[in-house]
Assembly symmetry: C2
Homo-oligomer: 86 residues x 2
């Protein structure tokens, strides 16, 4: 594995958990009025594109990363809709 490969895998692994702090924060505080719904809708649609790309080029790192992000984005969209009024 080249040093570029290692950098790519490290970047991909970290990307998968970008949304986790927001999910945890909103889950705990039950307030999401200031969080952008569109950010997570764009992310959700985008992750479907990335997942399709991952399947097309048969790249498991892209597939797994985007399945995790798709799941986190879906949770955030639900949390946003639930706690939008506070």
């Amino acid at each position: 594995m080249s040093s570029a490969d290692i950098m790519g895998y490290a970047a991909g692994a970290l990307t998968a958990f970008t949304f986790l702090p927001q999910v945890v924060k909103t889950w705990r505080e039950k307030a999401a009025k200031e969080v952008s719904l569109y950010m997570f809708i764009i992310a959700f649609v985008n992750e479907i594109l990335w997942l399709t790309y991952g399947v097309m080029i048969n790249n498991w790192v892209i597939m797994v990363t985007n399945i995790i992000m798709l799941f986190m984005s879906a949770i955030m969209i639900l949390l946003k809709l639930k706690y939008n009024h506070r």
Copy 2:
């Protein structure tokens, strides 16, 4: 260009603007208490990794995407710190 390439470029182009709705919303509403600082710190660090990876493999799509995201994340970190109290 293959259909996989087109899918990859479309996904990359959309990724670059994921944070834009949050930047615009926070800029307008001047409130960011409910937005996670850690999400954007993780994103910022992650984009430096991706940018380094892009430079290492000489991939302009990865470089340009992550320069845009780095810029958006930096703005969101500043907006969060400025409007955290409201």
